[in-house]
């Protein structure tokens, strides 16, 4: 199914969409998770993860352009209508879960830092309304929000260097490569969830003009995020010691509390509030992808699956009511993402390519 050219966006938006989908709440607190195994060498793991996601992205784009459509088309061509729909449904459910996890994690941050007594559903309803307004404007508007959100991440990038100069310890990072390669890989695996989000390409691909020839924008986007996370990890490790980081859930917010000006202090309040646009971006993208997938599977208008998904999101957010449940939920989502996009998709790619070759030979 070809997308109308009026609804498509220019190729370079792929860059913004990938970054918009990738940089989420993770930026604020991924340091603790990746430092568990590799300690101060974890920034190397980020680079390793960066290389791996480039490979996965290559595989995804190759798969999508040989199927000439999105993942639903791939599945339908490979498995037929019924089984294909089931497999696509699983991926769409993952997109929905990813949206829920980002939403719930952000509300958690707000409840910890800004409004301790704020009910979860209030924030969830407001953010979902905003997302509905964005998604109902069509993909062009979703891409527009990505564009603005990425402008905000450019600001966040400079925020990485906003460190109290007197308390920087360069020797924190030395000696480099103190940990075993297995530890580095383990940390890279932990990073992968923070860097997840690029799988949005599976649904976005047909909406990009001349998508087949403009894959460089996707890879550039991934490179930027890798740089972003590496610099983030690097600068945070310069400032916080290895033991301390394990007790810091949101290391970046803690660092920002130290910044003061003569007319304003507690910059982290502004940081967290402005973070909303990043959250809205990810949730809009994920729910857009999910509802579009279900639209294609069930042949309904996009409005119906979107509204159903939003109600379900609200319910699930209410259910994840404490840190412990939330944590295990996040772990589940992250292992689903690992399984789906680092194992399943490459496998599908191999099979798809072989089937296609065989077809060509028999013809």
């Amino acid at each position: 199914m070809q997308v109308n050219i009026r609804h498509q966006v220019s190729p370079y938006f792929l860059f913004f969409i990938i970054i918009g989908a990738q940089t989420g709440v993770g930026i604020l607190g991924f340091h603790r998770i990746i430092a568990k195994h590799a300690g101060y060498d974890a920034w190397i793991s980020v680079l390793i993860a960066g290389v791996i996601i480039q490979l996965v992205m290559f595989v995804m784009i190759h798969l999508l352009s040989s199927a000439n459509g999105d993942i639903v088309d791939v599945h339908n061509q490979l498995y037929g209508k019924i089984l294909g729909s089931i497999m696509s449904g699983i991926i769409m459910v993952y997109f929905w879960l990813a949206a829920v996890s980002v939403l719930r994690e952000y509300i958690e941050i707000i409840q910890v830092w800004l409004f301790p007594t704020l009910p979860t559903w209030v924030m969830a309803v407001l953010i979902l309304l905003l997302c509905y307004y964005i998604i109902s404007g069509g993909f062009r508007v979703v891409a527009g929000i990505c564009f603005v959100a990425v402008l905000y991440t450019f600001l966040l990038f400079f925020n990485h260097f906003n460190l109290p100069r007197n308390y920087i310890h360069l020797d924190n990072l030395l000696p480099i490569l103190d940990h075993s390669f297995a530890d580095l890989l383990r940390s890279a695996k932990e990073t992968s969830y923070s860097m997840a989000g690029f799988e949005i390409i599976l649904m976005v691909f047909p909406f990009i003009k001349n998508a087949k020839t403009s894959r460089k924008f996707a890879h550039l986007g991934l490179a930027y995020t890798t740089l972003f996370y590496t610099v983030g990890a690097f600068t945070t490790f310069l400032f916080i010691s290895e033991k301390q980081i394990q007790s810091n859930i949101w290391a970046r917010i803690n660092i920002n509390t130290l910044t003061t000006f003569s007319f304003i202090q507690r910059i982290e309040y502004i940081l967290i509030s402005l973070y909303l646009i990043k959250i809205v971006t990810i949730i809009s993208l994920m729910l857009w992808a999910s509802s579009r997938g279900f639209k294609k599977i069930f042949n309904k208008k996009q409005k119906a699956p979107l509204l159903v998904l939003m109600v379900l999101t609200l319910v699930l957010c209410q259910l994840l009511d404490n840190r412990y449940i939330l944590h295990s939920f996040l772990n589940t989502v992250s292992s689903i993402s690992l399984g789906l996009f680092y194992l399943y998709i490459p496998l599908v790619w191999l099979v798809f390519i072989m089937v296609k070759k065989k077809k060509r030979v028999t013809r």
């Binding site: 409004f115 209030v122 924030m123």
Partner: protein, 505 residues
């Protein structure tokens, strides 16, 4: 039964529609028009059998022209064709079509017949077209640049445009809309530059308009806008000639409506609301500074009162202790929560704005003094609001008028309130949610189907002449978002005229 009722209703409406069409065929147009007292139906000769009969609307014709150029020639000859040749007026028609005669009489023509019962008559244009002279643009005044503003008459306005662009490329498409008012509308564009689709869209939308009367171009603007429910104008009205000329040469479309001194420009982007024509009459660095000030003013007027509420209701930790001292001291005696305080002030400022706008300038000035100074002073002394808030609201009021387009200022006035409410509910997060809704709304808006918000999709040359104004020699391209047929402007690249200095030799 219901069906019967509906059929009857349909018949009724048919009758109503047909009535005015059928009746004039039966009655004479002279009789019909004579029911109005300002209709004159005179005999020019004292003999009953001699010609001519002349009829016109006294209130529509220029009597000087009538008596100088028409009446003297009537006694010289005895046939309509002879009269037609003699009269020194070019616009004359000989016809017996009743509908045409009536239409022309209502436009200020005079009808001349040989006998009273004659159906054939000569129509002469003696219309009084004098409205007022061209004057200064009132709402968009500038210190520099041309001071010619549009007037209420369409031909004068088109004349102003044509005089500045003497090119055969400038096409004017005229049409009439409004069932009762038959208002003349002209769509003007540069045929070789403007995008054909844009022109098609505008013509199509104007043709589809159905309304009794079009009093002003804003009627038309709100009828052909993409999203009528939006606060933001997607077609901007302007009374400056230079603005329309610049728009035309870039490939935009200009719509002139008879009876309105505001000329419409479409398609536009949000960024154009901070572009004043004066930016092009001052050095480019100063122009950028002014543009930045205007943009900053818009942001300030949007968020300063919500920020006050958010900070004082929820986030007083944001303010350093020393600054908080003076804030708290000024608020200590105020018995209300910040939101009430802000609403009292914002609404009283709106009162002052609204009342001084409706009154003549002389009283308006007095009112400003009474409202601004006396009430402002008293409201602080009565401890109804803090003095710091007076400063902030005063600033935001000033800042909300920095935009160059009056219609846009009004939108900013109203957009503020939802954000104020959100700030009260959720503090900083509320403000950001409000701003995000605004952003999403702006992203969704289109003007003639082209994106409204100026920076998405991203175009390189918007940093040459939209958000930033670079020197003229660098503005080499017409804006991409208009899809102009001609991409390049005629630019002569000469940065430093004159012989080179000894350093450059």
């Amino acid at each position: 039964m219901f069906k019967k009722w509906r059929e009857k209703k349909v018949e009724d409406t048919k009758n109503i529609e047909e009535q005015p069409n059928t009746s004039p065929e039966k009655t004479n147009w002279v009789e019909e028009l004579s029911r109005s007292n300002d209709f004159v139906n005179d005999h020019t000769s004292s003999e009953k059998t001699e010609p001519f009969w002349i009829s016109y609307f006294r209130t529509l014709v220029m009597s000087e022209t009538l008596h100088r150029d028409v009446v003297p020639y009537l006694s010289e000859s005895h046939s309509l064709d002879r009269v037609k040749n003699n009269i020194p007026i070019q616009q004359t028609i000989v016809t017996s079509d009743k509908k045409l005669i009536k239409e022309k009489l209502l436009q200020g023509f005079a009808a001349i017949r040989l006998t009273e019962q004659d159906t054939k008559c000569l129509l002469v244009n003696v219309a009084n077209n004098k409205f007022r002279d061209i004057s200064f643009p009132m709402m968009e005044s500038t210190a520099l640049g041309p001071q010619a503003g549009y007037v209420e008459e369409m031909d004068t306005n088109i004349n102003l445009i044509r005089k500045h662009l003497p090119s055969s490329d400038l096409h004017v498409k005229e049409m009439q809309i409004g069932k009762l008012s038959s208002t003349k509308v002209a769509v003007i564009y540069m045929d070789s530059i403007a995008d054909k689709d844009n022109v098609e869209t505008v013509l199509q939308r104007i043709n589809d308009v159905q309304y009794d009367h079009i009093s002003d171009s804003s009627y038309l603007a709100s009828m052909i806008e993409d999203n009528t429910n939006s606060l933001f104008p997607q077609i901007i009205p302007t009374e400056r000639t230079d603005r329309t000329i610049a728009a035309l040469t870039e490939g935009k479309i200009v719509i002139v409506v008879d009876g309105s001194p505001d000329v419409l420009i479409a398609p536009i982007t949000l960024a154009e609301s901070v572009v004043a024509m004066e930016d092009y009459y001052v050095p480019w660095l100063i122009a950028n500074y002014l543009r930045l000030i205007r943009l900053f003013g818009l942001c300030v007027s949007l968020i300063i009162s919500p920020l006050y509420i958010a900070v004082l209701t929820y986030h007083y930790e944001l303010i350093p202790a020393k600054l908080l001292d003076s804030l708290v001291a000024s608020r200590a005696a105020v018995p209300f929560p910040p939101i009430i305080e802000v609403l009292i002030l914002e609404i009283s400022v709106e009162f002052i704005k609204e009342s001084s706008l409706r009154l003549p300038t002389k009283i308006g000035t007095t009112l400003g003094i009474v409202g601004g100074i006396v009430i402002g002073q008293a409201i602080v002394e009565a401890k109804l609001t803090s003095s710091i808030l007076i400063i902030l609201v005063g600033l935001s009021t000033l800042a909300s008028y920095t935009s160059a387009i009056y219609k846009f200022n009004n939108s900013v006035r109203l957009v503020k309130y939802p954000i104020i409410v959100m700030a009260q509910l959720l503090g900083l997060i509320g403000i950001v949610i409000g701003l995000n809704f605004l952003l999403a709304h702006l992203l969704r808006l289109t003007s003639l189907g082209r994106p409204y918000i100026g920076f998405y999709p991203f175009r390189k040359n918007m940093f040459k002449d939209l958000w930033v104004r670079l020197p003229f020699w660098m503005q080499k391209e017409n804006p991409d978002n208009l899809r102009p047929q001609v991409k390049q402007k005629a630019v002569f690249d000469r940065r430093s005229p004159g012989p080179p200095s000894d350093f450059d030799e």
